[in-house]
């Protein structure tokens, strides 16, 4: 799939943003009064930047508002709806903290639930797609969860939590790749099933339907990324966890350090999210005999 910057920024930043709001909701860390504002500000800003980025992905944004209408059936619609609810609800929690200077346990807990669900809906936009076997597996939501919460924990200076999440993320990310690499062939999709010509023999494309490019090839038959995937995976993991882990272990928590670890982690996350798209193969590629 085409790794469009808009969707990469969207999934990464809004993920971390909502995860931050969730953690703040359950008092990790507990910040009250005016002290809460900068924390929430960062969370909300990341979430909003992410959401705005996703709008850039739209070819006809003037109808974006209609995206709230189909929450009954569409994960993308649900994502929109819950993103808004999460933002409003978290702002409400923030208001309580600022105005009354205490941490509202109940509505804070609610933040955790709806923000998590928002992250889940984002994940489901991709997980639901049978046409992209690599995404269409149970680990995808966990990848989204863990990557969002890890980033959030680090930037919020939750060293221990961050450390544990980094370990889990390592496991899940690697598992996701191992399973993902097999997903396509395991589904049994081949040019023969795509064309039904298997009954005649072994098929290959002889002539494409058009000698130029088209929307499908640009959007869904992105072969460039796959070539370098091993290299990129290694670099990605190095930044995502390889560097953050030891730093968190050996050094004491200073603000500067938290920020630098977060930045390293974020770089890793962008690389892995880029791979998430670039490595994903859409079954339509079979019709073009491109895999």
């Amino acid at each position: 799939m085409h790794p469009a910057p808009s969707v990469i920024i969207f999934t990464v930043l809004s993920g971390i943003g909502f995860a931050m709001l969730a953690l703040l909701g359950i008092g990790q860390p507990e910040v009250n009064g005016f002290e809460a504002i900068p924390y929430y500000f960062v969370g909300i800003t990341l979430a909003v930047i992410g959401l705005l980025a996703s709008v850039f992905h739209l070819k006809n944004p003037k109808n974006a508002i209609k995206a709230f209408s189909q929450f009954r059936s569409s994960w993308l619609s649900r994502e929109g709806v819950f993103a808004v609810i999460s933002l409003v609800q978290s702002t409400f929690v923030l208001a309580i903290k600022v105005v009354f200077g205490f941490h509202p346990l109940l509505s804070g807990g609610v933040s955790l639930i709806i923000c998590s669900f928002t992250i889940f809906t984002t994940a489901m936009i991709y997980t639901q797609l049978k046409t992209v076997p690599r995404w269409n597996q149970w680990l995808t939501p966990f990848v989204f969860f863990l990557s969002s919460y890890t980033g959030a924990a680090i930037i919020l200076g939750q060293v221990l939590l961050g450390f544990l999440l980094l370990l889990m993320l390592t496991v899940v990310q690697i598992a996701y790749w191992i399973i993902g690499d097999r997903a396509f062939s395991k589904r049994g999709h081949t040019i023969e099933t795509a064309t039904g010509l298997g009954r005649l023999g072994k098929a290959r494309e002889f002539e494409p339907p058009h000698t130029g490019q088209n929307y499908l090839l640009n959007e869904m038959v992105y072969v460039v990324g796959r070539k370098h995937s091993i290299k990129l995976r290694t670099i990605g993991m190095l930044f995502l966890v390889g560097l953050p882990l030891p730093i968190l272990w050996f050094f004491n928590v200073s603000f500067a350090m938290v920020v630098s670890v977060f930045c390293l982690h974020l770089v890793g996350l962008f690389i892995c999210r880029w791979l998430f798209f670039a490595e994903a193969e859409h079954v339509v590629g079979l019709y073009y005999d491109k895999r």
Binding site: S69, F206, H210, T211, G212
Partner: protein, 926 residues
């Protein structure tokens, strides 16, 4: 949320106008929809005989052609050096003045100095008549490089050809063999026909080195090696004769099978027919056992007997034919390897042909009367039919190969019978009622008759002593039966001044500096070459095109044509009509939209030029213009009294068909009738047309010919033997020494196979491969690439290489390879193809474009990745060391031998630009 309510009955358009498509030469009927004056949708006309409502990709892309940015705007004169496409727009008056200043002096002194040749011309009856009135012998359309072998072999053998002049009986045939066809002119009808065959469960056999298109859907594929079809066909004949599977009754009734032939090699009449006092060929009458006129009442031939007269033995054609083809030389075992086929496949196909023809015979209970007045109460059909096109004709052995195929059809009794191959009016028409060629010119006089025709023997050649009368050397010893001329030799001969120099080259609708020429670079050089005093070797070039083609850059004067939706045209019975085996039909084009540029329909411009030149036939007594424009000509021109360009709605009140005085409202009548006219042939006249009295009389009534012309098919083609005798010194005139052996070899009156010339002159180990092209269904030669929709489908053309060759040379899809012929070298991208004859490479024709042409970006894929095979093909054969220029053509008709090309392949470095690359020509366009 409810489902949106949707208007399922939107208005389609404001207006629909019915005319004829010209995105190719198939001439389908189209309904052109207009929305606020602009063309909005084009669909097939359901009532039209050719396409019955369907429309191909090209036709459906007509809008984009009509609004193409490459359209020319106004007449232009060259202001820079030739080939640099520096032009200045001028008025039509100035254009005519310039043309007149070149042509009038020529006509006064030596009309031969004008050479007028036309390409995709559908108005040959006008263009040839114009040239005839001008008085130049140098006229032809493009048939010489197209498929004259097919046309000439068909007409000489059976009085009609495949091409679009006949068709298989799609509704009845049970076994159909298609040789060397990718698209053909009958683009839509062939597809529709094949689909009917499939519906009816008939079997389709595709004979083609490449298994695409029609051959892909064929039930059986014969992966023949290029140039060997003649062998394959004659091996089928061998099998049929050996198995006694021929239609003897048909042969004796309808062919010259029974004619007696002089079988004494020493005799000066060797190989000629025995003729009686009447001058008519003789047969041996079965009852009397005596020689009689072949057409005497109540006689049937006995082909088994021989006749001795004055020590000369005479044998029947059928005897000669049998002894020739029963020989081992034509046994499947002998030919299979050379053809790249298996013995089994050849034998099985022969058996299937016989079984279908004779065991699955069909009968129509329909009374009819033959030319001798004998009444028959049924029509017997042999449901096997054949079609073929350039795959067998575009070779130097093409004429004989096409003849061989016709002989096969005839031996099976499957021509003009139910289930077989059927002619479309104005065919059948035997070669000897066609005109003979005319080429004797004199100052200020019209030519005595039409340029092109069908010679009966050496006496009809267009030569003075040994020199050719025509610039293209048509009808000379080099290619005596060149019935369509040799357009591919014109530029080369004019440049060489051989046989003489010319002054003005006038061309119409032919992209001669690119895809329609062999050796395209050479042609560009000849067009721009200057003599010692700086004048162009070809002094003046006038060209009519509608778009910025590669050829525009090489003209001195451009006459810009309209698009096909902006002009009058007629698809006439005098030319290449749209008839069906069961009906006579013709059609028109008319301006469904008015031009928004200063352009004119070429035919109108030609008529106006004729008037400026005061050519005979173009002026009234009072000196005023006889025809204002083409529309006027279509309605009022009479070729023979009562016979004009259009056959429908003739007579003052439009009530007459075929013959009748001009009808001023004729064009409107056509428009009201959907743009065409159709007149059914009576049921009793729909088969056996050459020998069917009802048909012959109907045809005379309709003005197709002036008196009945029944005839017999020529299994044995006597005119060829006359050329042979001349070569043996037994017949006058006689050919110069250098032609004699070739004529003795090639002019066999019974079809033979010989090796295509190019491969006999190059080392086959150095050039082991055959290289050919195919037409893509969604492109028309060069002119489809300006089309925004079609070029997305075919924006570049790879070289398709057989799996074997790929493996030998380690070639993979996307690699580049260099292809080398005796003449040139190209470097191009390759793609593997397994469904391909192992000795063959091929590509789509005419996709490659010159940078800057057709109003396309200089880096258009057509110009960077696309390529032409033409750069490898030369118009002359490799030198034989005899110092002579032998054209790369069939020795009998002069048909360009495009598919004789031999090459070798080698893997090349990856490239970004296919080679050869030419500098850009930044062409004038809107």
């Amino acid at each position: 949320m409810a489902q949106p309510d949707l208007d399922t009955s939107p208005a389609v358009s404001d207006d629909v106008k019915k005319t004829t498509c010209y995105m190719c030469a198939c001439r389908c009927g189209i309904n052109v929809h207009l929305k606020d004056g602009k063309v909005s949708y084009i669909e097939g006309n359901r009532d039209h005989p050719i396409n019955k409502g369907v429309l191909c990709a090209k036709g459906s892309a007509g809008i984009m052609q009509h609004y193409s940015p490459a359209r020319l705007n106004a007449p232009m004169k060259r202001v820079g050096p030739r080939g640099t496409s520096q032009f200045e727009e001028i008025s039509w008056d100035e254009a005519f003045d310039i043309a007149k200043s070149w042509l009038a002096p020529i006509r006064k002194t030596d009309p031969r100095k004008l050479a007028f040749f036309t390409g995709r011309d559908q108005s040959q009856s006008l263009t040839s008549w114009w040239a005839q009135q001008f008085g130049t012998p140098n006229y032809a359309a493009h048939g010489g490089f197209c498929s004259v072998n097919m046309a000439a072999a068909g007409i000489y053998t059976m009085g009609g050809a495949f091409w679009e002049f006949g068709s298989p009986d799609w509704e009845r045939t049970k076994l159909f063999m298609i040789f060397g066809v990718a698209e053909d002119h009958d683009s839509n009808p062939i597809k529709t026909g094949l689909s009917r065959l499939k519906e009816r469960g008939a079997k389709i056999v595709g004979v083609n080195p490449v298994r695409t298109g029609y051959n892909a859907i064929a039930d059986e594929w014969v992966p023949i090696t290029p140039g060997t079809d003649g062998l394959f066909i004659l091996a089928l004949v061998h099998e049929l004769l050996k198995g006694g599977q021929i239609d003897v009754d048909y042969l004796l009734r309808y062919t010259n099978a029974g004619f007696l032939v002089n079988d004494n090699p020493k005799s000066k009449d060797h190989g000629l027919f025995l003729r009686g006092k009447s001058g008519k060929p003789q047969i041996i009458d079965r009852r009397s056992g005596k020689p009689v006129d072949f057409d005497a009442q109540g006689v049937t031939a006995d082909p088994t007997k021989t006749q001795r007269i004055k020590g000369v033995e005479y044998k029947s054609v059928l005897q000669l034919l049998a002894s020739k083809y029963l020989s081992k030389d034509y046994a499947p075992e002998t030919v299979a390897d050379q053809c790249g086929l298996t013995v089994e496949q050849i034998k099985r196909i022969a058996a299937e042909l016989a079984k279908t023809a004779f065991e699955e015979e069909i009968t129509i209970h329909q009374k009819w009367t033959d030319w001798k007045g004998i009444k028959h109460d049924k029509m017997i059909g042999r449901p096997v039919s054949f079609h073929a096109m350039r795959g067998i004709s575009a070779h130097s052995n093409g004429f004989q190969t096409c003849r061989a195929l016709h002989i096969l059809q005839i031996l099976l009794g499957s021509v003009e019978v139910p289930g077989g191959f059927r002619f479309k009016p104005p065919y059948p028409k035997p070669y000897d009622i066609h005109p003979k060629p005319h080429a004797t010119s004199a100052a200020e006089t019209a030519l005595a008759g039409p340029h092109l025709g069908f010679p009966h023997g050496p006496e009809d050649l267009m030569i003075d002593g040994d020199t050719a009368r025509r610039i293209d050397k048509a009808f000379t010893w080099e290619n005596p039966l060149s019935a369509h001329g040799l357009m591919h030799m014109v530029i080369s001969n004019a440049h060489a001044g051989d046989p003489y120099k010319i002054d003005t080259l006038f061309m119409y609708m032919a992209n001669m500096s690119w895809n329609s020429s062999m050796n395209s670079r050479g042609v560009m050089d000849m067009l721009t070459d200057q003599n010692e005093n700086g004048d162009y070797v070809i002094p003046h070039i006038i060209y009519s095109d509608a778009y910025s083609s590669e050829m525009v850059a090489y003209a001195d004067l451009i006459l810009p044509d309209t698009t096909y939706l902006e002009r009058h045209d007629c698809v006439s019975l005098l030319d290449r009509p749209i008839c069906e085996p069961e009906a006579m039909a013709d059609s028109i084009r008319w301006p469904v939209v008015e031009p928004d540029r200063d352009v004119r329909g070429f035919q109108s411009a030609l008529i106006q030029l004729g008037t400026h030149l005061e050519l005979p036939g173009f002026l009234n007594e009072d000196g005023s213009a006889k025809y204002e424009d083409y529309a006027d000509y279509i309605v009022n021109h009479e070729r023979r009294p009562g016979v004009g360009p259009l056959t429908g709605f003739r007579g003052k009140d439009g009530s007459k068909t075929g013959r009748g005085e001009p009808n001023p409202d004729q064009l409107q009548a056509y428009i009201d009738n959907g743009g065409f006219f159709l007149d059914h042939i009576p049921k009793s006249a729909q088969f056996y047309k050459p020998w069917n009295q009802e048909y012959q009389n109907w045809a005379v009534e309709r003005g197709i010919f002036d008196k009945p012309a029944p005839y017999l098919f020529n299994l044995y083609l006597e005119p060829l033997q006359k050329f042979r005798l001349a070569a043996e010194g037994k017949y006058d005139p006689q050919p110069p020494e250098q032609y004699r052996d070739r004529i003795k070899m090639a002019f066999d009156p019974l079809p033979i196979w010989y090796e295509p010339f190019e491969q006999t002159l190059v080392d086959q180990d150095t050039y082991p491969l055959h290289a050919i092209t195919q037409r893509p269904a969604a492109m028309y030669h060069s002119w489809g690439s300006q089309n925004a929709w079609l070029r997305q489908i075919h924006g570049r053309n790879p070289l398709y290489v057989s799996g074997d060759i790929c493996d030998q040379h380690g070639l993979n899809d996307g690699d580049w390879a260099t292809l080398t012929s005796h003449h040139g070298e190209i470097t191009v991208p390759v793609v593997r193809m397994n469904a391909l004859n192992p000795k063959t490479v091929w590509t789509w024709n005419a996709i490659g474009k010159r940078k800057g042409a057709w109003a396309l970006d200089e880096n258009a894929p057509e110009a960077t990745k696309g390529f032409l095979l033409n750069h490898l093909i030369h118009e002359l054969l490799p030198p034989k060391g005899d110092g002579l220029r032998w054209s790369n053509s069939d020795p009998i008709t002069g048909q360009a031998a495009w598919y004789d090309l031999r090459v070798r392949i080698a893997k090349a470095e990856d490239q970004t630009q296919s080679q050869p690359e030419f500098g850009p020509i930044n062409e004038p366009a809107e």
